[in-house]
């Protein structure tokens, strides 16, 4: 009987303790207005789990540079920061959101950070569909401000575009501006097939490639969309035209499946020929750089809106790298995840300074509509937001190369496209459908930067255009 009693009493006791803790949390209320509460939204699970530390590093580094904050731990950004003042008020990082790419969790974390913990400003999120969910929420919560971290879906600043959502970097389509033209001219591709995951980020990413490639005269002969649920890739890869029927393939399969899909391709059609394959940043990032990139040395891949490899020989870029590297050890400040979160945090500080620490609509009207981020070159180094608070950003396209000495692979910047706007010169628009399986169609159209993609050599943007 003694055991039986413990079976009852122990759980009951735990319950009582738990209930007390819980109710104290429920009844407590917070009312502070001498500080500005903000939160970082990033991923700590799923394909972008590494973003947790990198995004936080970018944010806190910017706040250290421009708002007098200090990282608590130079090796571990997620340890947080001390200090930090903007617009005369103290900055309080109330929490770091932990998403896993899915919109449901992103929304749950948003509520936790911005309702329970009271943040008024969010820097983030990291991934496309998360931003769609959060933008929809932000539409109905106008007093909260969202400055997107690195999410690349088109909707948040095109079709949804609430007045309290800002994005100081390009979307997935913008990141690929110029890539289609590069492969058309340098690799001689005239026909291509496309394979990607069946959800919004790959659609957006593909839209950028299609606009460029078809705009200059190429033809996309087949689009294959694979279910995010996974399974066996062999039947999908067989839907693609054979290597002798098409000049090249664009790959937009990401996450855990990049290597899987490319392996399936090899098993169907033989070894990969680098000159026949291109794709978006998935081909290089997310760990693909170890499994996939070695087989694709020489391929051109889409960029991330930054001078990813470092070494851009411009004063603004050098100053950025110098400033950004001061605050944490072991961070690659050229990486898009760091760079874009830095810029978002910097914009927040500028906005707060102007609004004298006021948040809400007062902040939203005063967030800067221009910024001077490290890798912006056109327009005298000034990045502008368009009428929907979306950045018009310079883009850098990459080529996978072998790193000298170590034998691993890396990327070099191959091309530069100035001032890419989200509509691609009218291709996309808020009243047009969002990128989808078959949108945009493959049409010949002159884009504003067609024929103006500049060659980049050793960190110098030359005046030659890609021929």
């Amino acid at each position: 009987m003694k055991v039986g009693r413990w079976k009852l009493l122990l759980p009951l006791a735990l319950l009582a303790v738990g209930a007390t803790i819980a109710t104290s949390g429920a009844l407590a209320s917070s009312a502070q207005s001498s500080e500005v509460k903000f939160a970082i939204m990033t991923d700590c699970k799923g394909a972008f789990a590494f973003g947790y530390e990198v995004d936080t590093a970018g944010t806190i580094a910017a706040l250290s540079q421009y708002a007098g904050a200090k990282p608590k731990n130079k090796k571990k950004p997620s340890a947080g920061m001390t200090g930090g003042k903007a617009g005369g008020k103290n900055l309080n990082l109330v929490g770091i959101g932990c998403g896993d790419e899915t919109p449901a969790l992103a929304l749950k974390e948003t509520r936790r950070l911005m309702v329970q913990l009271g943040a008024d400003i969010m820097i983030g999120p990291l991934s496309g569909d998360e931003a769609v969910a959060i933008a929809n929420w932000a539409k109905q919560n106008r007093s909260k401000t969202v400055i997107i971290g690195t999410a690349g879906s088109q909707d948040p600043t095109m079709q949804i575009a609430p007045k309290n959502v800002f994005r100081y970097h390009g979307d997935g389509a913008q990141w690929n501006a110029g890539l289609g033209e590069i492969v058309y001219k340098k690799l001689g591709w005239r026909t291509a097939a496309l394979i990607g995951d069946d959800y919004s980020f790959p659609w957006t990413s593909a839209a950028g490639i299609i606009a460029d490639f078809c705009g200059i005269g190429g033809k996309i002969t087949k689009r294959v969309w694979t279910p995010p649920a996974g399974g066996d890739y062999a039947p999908f890869v067989r839907q693609l035209p054979r290597p002798n029927q098409v000049d090249g393939y664009f790959w937009l399969v990401g996450g855990a499946n990049t290597a899987t899909a490319l392996t399936a391709f090899e098993q169907a059609y033989g070894p990969l020929k680098a000159s026949q394959h291109s794709g978006n940043l998935f081909l290089y990032f997310l760990g693909a750089n170890t499994t996939v990139a070695p087989r694709l040395v020489g391929s051109y891949v889409g960029g991330f809106g930054t001078f990813q490899t470092g070494g851009l020989k411009k004063a603004q870029a050098r100053a950025y790298v110098k400033n950004a590297s001061k605050w944490f050890t072991g961070q690659n400040v050229n990486d898009g995840f760091f760079y874009n979160y830095w810029n978002a945090a910097w914009a927040m500080v500028q906005g707060l300074n102007k609004s004298k620490g006021e948040v809400g609509v007062a902040l939203q009207t005063r967030l800067p509509r221009t910024l001077k981020p490290g890798f912006q070159v056109a327009n005298n180094g000034v990045l502008r937001l368009d009428s929907r608070r979306q950045a018009i950003q310079d883009q850098y396209q990459l080529q996978i190369t072998k790193a000298s000495g170590t034998g691993s692979v890396t990327t070099t910047i191959a091309g530069y496209v100035p001032n890419v706007d989200q509509t691609f010169g009218g291709y996309f628009g808020p009243n047009k459908p969002a990128p989808g399986r078959n949108f945009p169609p493959c049409v010949k159209k002159k884009l504003p930067w067609q024929g103006k993609v500049k060659v980049v050599k050793n960190g110098v943007i030359t005046n030659q255009v890609i021929k």
């Binding site: 009852l8 009951l12 069946d198 919004s200 279910p227």
Partner: protein, 358 residues
């Protein structure tokens, strides 16, 4: 007064007290707690109730409830949202009248539930469990693959098109809370009434002795199918409320994680008693909130891991120590008191936990 009547009386008192607290809760707790914990607990409780209804009175542990919830939510979202400038971009965007859409969504879910139930009605125990799991998976894959009705991206805006009598629940969270509370209480009363009807009694008979009931001339398969349909109805209500509460639908709503989560809630609360539904939901959400807020980014100390490890261990402990969950602990407390009263009292019927005898 015998122990049994004391127990019933105590439960009634606690129930009324809980109801009173629930009614005045908006005045007592913060906005976040009201919206994210209490309202969500009520909604998950309704969903868990659909599961516990089937398990307590039918001996059928169904993992299809999450799927049915999702179906109702997606149906409503697709029917109700419209193609307007600055509006939604995902889903069918049919733009129907919200009241009509509400009824249609619930009816559709019940119809699908009856179809599922018809196929599953001839399976028992473990087979039934696995079959219902695959139903949810089918629904999950369907909405995930068919981008016409949603796809991976969220279908949003459903909370802006509510029927007139519901009103604006996107802005007024208190209103949503009360609507959820009223629905929860109504569903509870409905089920309590149902199990006393001839249908309910024969349903419980089928739970205990399916062969005997069949030989007495009862159509076992039909009873189980209908019961599954009732479960689908309750799950549909939960799904619709969830759509209004969360505002967006994405496939994760009926993924494997969500399905396991609902099962965990039902087991923690107690598979034998429908009151366990809300108890389990509240306990789960509170633990979730506390643990998530306290775990550092590096994971739990020593063993690493997240909230999932914690709830996994709690779940394991409950299944091993008290398979009837928290309500089971309550019942056993009274059992102990009854035994103290003397050895002459008989063992009450059905004293074995729901998951032990199968």
């Amino acid at each position: 007064m015998s122990i049994d009547t004391t127990k019933v009386l105590t439960e009634r008192v606690i129930g009324v007290a809980a109801l009173v607290l629930a009614v005045v809760a908006p005045a007592l707790v913060s906005g976040f707690w009201l919206n994210s914990i209490l309202t969500q607990a009520l909604i998950l409780g309704i969903a868990a109730m659909s599961l516990i209804f089937l398990s307590a009175y039918g001996g059928m542990i169904s993992l299809a409830q999450t799927g049915l919830m999702g179906i109702a939510g997606y149906a409503l979202a697709n029917m109700v949202t419209q193609r307007v400038p600055g509006g939604e971009t995902k889903g069918l965007l049919l733009g129907w009248d919200p009241t009509l859409a509400l009824i249609a969504a619930i009816l559709l879910t019940v119809a699908i539930g009856l179809a599922f139930g018809a196929v599953a009605s001839r399976s028992f125990g473990i087979y039934f469990l696995m079959l219902t799991l695959t139903y949810t998976v089918i629904a999950y894959l369907f909405v995930g693959s068919v981008t016409l009705i949603g796809g991976f991206s969220p279908v949003a805006g459903v909370d802006r098109y509510t029927p007139g009598f519901i009103g604006d629940i996107a802005g007024d969270r208190e209103r949503l809370y009360y609507i959820t509370l009223i629905t929860a209480v109504s569903v509870y009363v409905l089920v309590r009434y149902l199990v006393r009807t001839p249908f309910g009694i024969s349903f419980q008979g089928i739970r205990d002795e399916p062969l005997r009931m069949a030989s007495l001339g009862y159509n076992v398969a039909l009873h189980r199918t209908l019961a599954f349909g009732i479960g689908a109805f309750i799950a549909a209500l939960a799904g619709v409320l969830y759509a209004w509460w969360f505002g967006q639908l994405s496939p994760t709503t009926m993924g494997l994680d969500a399905t396991i989560q609902l099962l965990v809630i039902a087991v923690i609360g107690g598979l034998r008693r429908i009151e366990g539904a809300w108890l389990g939901a509240l306990a789960f959400l509170i633990i979730n909130n506390e643990v998530t807020n306290r775990i550092p980014s590096s994971g739990l100390p020593v063993i690493g891991g997240t909230f999932n490890t914690v709830i996994g261990f709690i779940f394991l402990a409950i299944v091993i120590v008290s398979p009837d969950g928290l309500m089971g602990i309550w019942d056993r407390l009274w059992e102990m008191l009854r035994r103290r009263g003397g050895p002459t009292h008989a063992e009450p019927e059905g004293s074995e936990p729901a998951i032990v005898s199968s």
